[in-house]
C-alpha cells in the first residue's frame, strides 16, 4: 500500500507522465532556465495543414462566424459619436461536443490512436472532458475523465455536474472527486493503472489544435470584410485558448491584431478551498486560473506547458460575474443565441472595449460554448442564492466574489478592468528565478525570458538588473 501514498505516487510523476504522453521534454532544454519552445511545438506537434486535415475527420472547426449586429448597435448607443467597433463572434458551440475544446482534444486523441494507446485520460472539470470523450468515441478509444465536482457536504457545482453528464453521454468513465489539488494524484494512479494516453490540455497537441481557430478568424474576416481583425478577445483560464488562437492569428499573417485576454474576476477566492468551492458562479475562465497559469505556466500536468499566454497577450482585462450573466442574457435576448455562460466572459469585455474603439474597427470574440441545465445563468444564480451569495441588481463594480453577484441595472455599467500586465510579468520572472535559483543570466536564457514576457532583450535585461539584481553574462 505504501507505494500508493500521496508522496510515493507524486515521486513517480515524471516517469508516469513520460509513458503517458510519450514526450521527452528534456531534449528541448536550453540554458539553465529555458527550453526551445518553438522547436518543441514544431517537432512534437503537427503542422497547421495536418491539423486541419485531422480535425476535418472528426467534424471539428469551420464553425459559423457571426456579426453581432444588435449587440454592436447597443454598444454604439452607449458609445461616444464615431465609436463602437463591430463585434463578431466565432460560434464554437457548433463543434461536436459544444465548445472550442473539441479542437484541443482532436489532435491528442488522433495522436493517441496513431501511437496505439487503448484509451485517453484527462483531468478536467470543464468542457474539455466532453470534448475528449466525443473525439475518442469517433476514433474508437476508451475515455476516463477525472473531475473535481463536489465539496465536503457532497454538494456538486451544477456546471460541473452537467459537464460530467455530457462526458457520460459520450460513453466516458467519469471519476468525480471532492475539492483539492490531489485530483492530480488520482489522475496519475489512473494513468498507471490503465496505460492510457494523457490527453493533457497543455501538450503541444492540445495547443496546436487551437491554432486553426485563430487562422479561420483571420481568413474569414479577410474574405468577408477585406481586413484583418483589429482585436481578438479570448476568455482566459489555463492559457491554451489564448496561446493557440494567437499562434493561429500570427500564422495567418495578422501581425497587428491586438490579442486581449479576459477573465472573470474571482479575486479573494481560494481555488483549493473546500469552503470557497461552491461560492463561485464560474468554474472556468476566471482569474483563479488565469493569473497563476499566466505567471507560472509550468504548474501544469506536463513538465513544459505549451500554453504560454504571456508570450502573446497584449492586454488583459477582467469582468465581474454579474456582467457576464448580463451579456449572456443579452446574447439570447437580442441576438437569438443562447450560449455560455463562462464562454461569454470575452463577450462581456468586448462589449465595453468596442465602445472605446472606432466604428470602422472590428473586435472578434473567438468562442461560444453550449448551454443547458446546470450550465446556465439561471442554474448558477439559483445555486449562488442557495449558498448564501447576495444576488441582486446594482452596480457590478461593487461585486465581491464569494459574497455577491451583482447584475448590472444598465448595460453602460459593464466595464472591462485592466490588469497590470507588467506586474504579471514581474511575478513570472520572480517565480522562475526562485525556482531555478540562478545567480546570473546567460544569453540563451535572456532570449528565452524575453520571449516569455514578450519584451525586447534589452528591456528584459534592464528588468532583471533593476528588480532582481541579476546580471546578464556572455554575449
Amino acid at each position: 500500500m505504501a507505494a500508493n501514498d500521496y508522496g510515493e505516487v507524486m515521486a513517480r510523476k515524471n516517469e508516469i507522465m513520460k509513458k503517458a504522453v510519450g514526450i521527452d521534454y528534456e531534449r528541448f532544454a536550453t540554458g539553465k532556465i529555458g527550453f526551445d519552445y518553438e522547436r518543441m511545438m514544431s517537432e512534437v506537434g503537427y503542422k497547421l495543414d495536418e491539423i486541419i486535415k485531422i480535425q476535418s475527420e472528426t467534424a471539428v472547426g469551420k464553425t459559423p462566424f457571426i456579426e453581432l449586429k444588435n449587440i454592436t448597435k447597443l454598444a454604439r448607443k452607449l458609445a461616444p459619436e464615431g465609436k463602437g467597433a463591430r463585434i463578431f463572434l466565432k460560434d464554437e458551440a457548433a463543434n461536436p461536443s459544444g465548445s472550442y475544446k473539441a479542437r484541443r482534444a482532436s489532435v491528442s486523441v488522433y495522436h493517441a490512436q496513431k501511437e496505439g494507446y487503448p484509451g485517453v485520460v484527462a483531468a478536467t472539470s470543464g468542457n474539455y472532458g466532453a470534448a475528449v470523450a466525443s473525439q475518442a468515441v469517433m476514433r474508437n478509444l476508451e475515455t476516463i475523465i477525472v473531475q473535481e465536482v463536489f465539496d465536503s457536504r457532497g454538494v456538486g457545482q451544477p456546471e460541473i455536474l452537467e459537464k460530467g453528464r455530457k462526458c457520460e453521454a459520450y460513453g466516458a468513465e467519469v471519476l468525480q472527486l471532492s475539492v483539492g489539488p490531489e485530483l492530480f494524484y488520482t489522475f496519475l494512479r489512473v494513468l498507471e493503472d490503465t496505460g492510457y494516453f494523457n490527453a493533457s490540455l497543455y501538450t503541444p497537441f492540445g495547443i496546436a489544435g487551437v491554432e486553426p481557430l485563430g487562422y479561420e478568424i483571420v481568413e474569414e474576416l479577410k474574405e468577408r470584410e477585406n481586413k484583418e481583425p483589429d482585436a481578438v478577445i479570448i476568455t482566459h483560464a489555463g492559457g491554451g485558448n489564448l496561446t493557440g488562437t494567437a499562434r493561429g492569428i500570427l500564422k495567418a499573417g495578422a501581425k497587428d491584431t491586438k490579442i486581449i485576454a479576459s477573465s472573470v474576476d474571482l479575486s479573494g477566492l481560494h481555488m483549493a478551498s473546500d469552503h470557497d468551492f461552491n461560492r463561485k458562479s464560474f468554474t472556468t475562465g476566471h482569474t483563479g486560473f488565469g493569473v497563476p497559469f499566466a505567471t507560472w505556466p509550468d504548474r501544469a500536468d506536463v513538465p513544459r506547458n505549451a500554453a504560454r499566454a504571456l508570450r502573446y497577450m497584449d492586454e488583459y482585462v477582467t469582468v465581474k460575474q454579474g456582467e457576464v450573466f448580463y451579456i449572456t442574457e443579452a446574447l439570447a435576448q437580442i441576438e437569438g443565441m443562447e450560449r455560455g455562460p463562462a464562454g461569454n466572459t470575452s463577450l462581456a469585455a468586448a462589449f465595453d472595449l468596442a465602445q472605446k474603439m472606432d466604428e470602422d474597427q472590428i473586435i472578434v470574440v473567438q468562442e461560444t460554448e453550449y448551454t443547458g441545465a446546470g450550465k446556465h445563468p439561471m442554474a448558477q444564480l439559483n445555486f449562488a442564492k442557495e449558498n448564501g451569495i447576495d444576488v441582486r441588481n446594482g452596480d457590478p463594480k461593487e461585486e465581491k466574489a464569494g459574497k455577491s453577484v451583482i447584475i448590472p441595472e444598465h448595460p453602460s455599467q459593464i466595464k472591462a478592468i485592466d490588469v497590470d500586465l507588467d506586474k504579471l510579468k514581474l511575478s513570472y520572472l520572480s517565480k522562475v528565478i526562485e525556482d531555478t535559483n540562478v545567480k546570473e543570466i546567460n544569453q540563451v536564457d535572456l532570449e528565452f525570458l524575453a520571449d516569455e514576457i514578450n519584451k525586447s532583450k534589452k528591456a528584459t535585461e534592464e528588468i532583471l538588473k533593476r528588480e532582481f539584481n541579476l546580471a546578464v553574462v556572455g554575449g
Binding site: L161, V179, G374, A379, L381, F383, R392, N393
Partner: protein
C-alpha cells in the same frame, strides 16, 4: 435491512481516497480537515445492499471497489426558478436599440 440490489445493476460507489490527516501539504486549512472523496459509476458485480462494500465494473471495464451509495444514480442539476434579477435585461436592451433612449 434494505432491498437486495441485483448484480448487473448500474450503481454508484463512494471511496475515501485520502483521509483528512493525509492530504497534500499545500491544501488550505479547511480542505485539510476533510477527506478527499471519490464517486464512480459502473455495473454491480455481485448482489448487495446499500452501504455494502462492493465491486463495480466501469464502462472502461475497470474493477473499482467502494461503498454502494446509489442505484441508477440520477442527474439532479437543473435550471431552477426564474431569476427575477435577469428579467429586466431583455426588455431594457430591446428598448435601447429600437428607440433612441439610452
Amino acid at each position: 435491512m434494505g432491498e437486495v440490489i441485483k448484480a448487473g445493476s448500474w450503481v454508484q460507489i463512494y471511496q475515501v481516497i485520502l483521509p483528512a490527516g493525509k492530504r497534500a501539504p499545500q491544501v488550505p486549512e479547511d480542505t485539510k480537515k476533510v477527506p478527499l472523496e471519490l464517486k464512480a459509476k459502473g455495473f454491480l458485480q455481485e448482489d448487495a445492499k446499500l452501504g455494502d462494500t462492493v465491486e463495480i465494473k466501469t464502462v472502461t471495464n475497470r474493477i473499482l471497489k467502494g461503498e454502494l451509495i446509489e442505484v441508477n444514480p440520477s442527474y439532479e442539476h437543473k435550471f431552477g426558478k426564474m431569476i427575477p434579477e435577469l428579467l429586466q435585461i431583455g426588455p431594457q436592451i430591446r428598448k435601447i436599440i429600437r428607440d433612441k433612449e439610452v
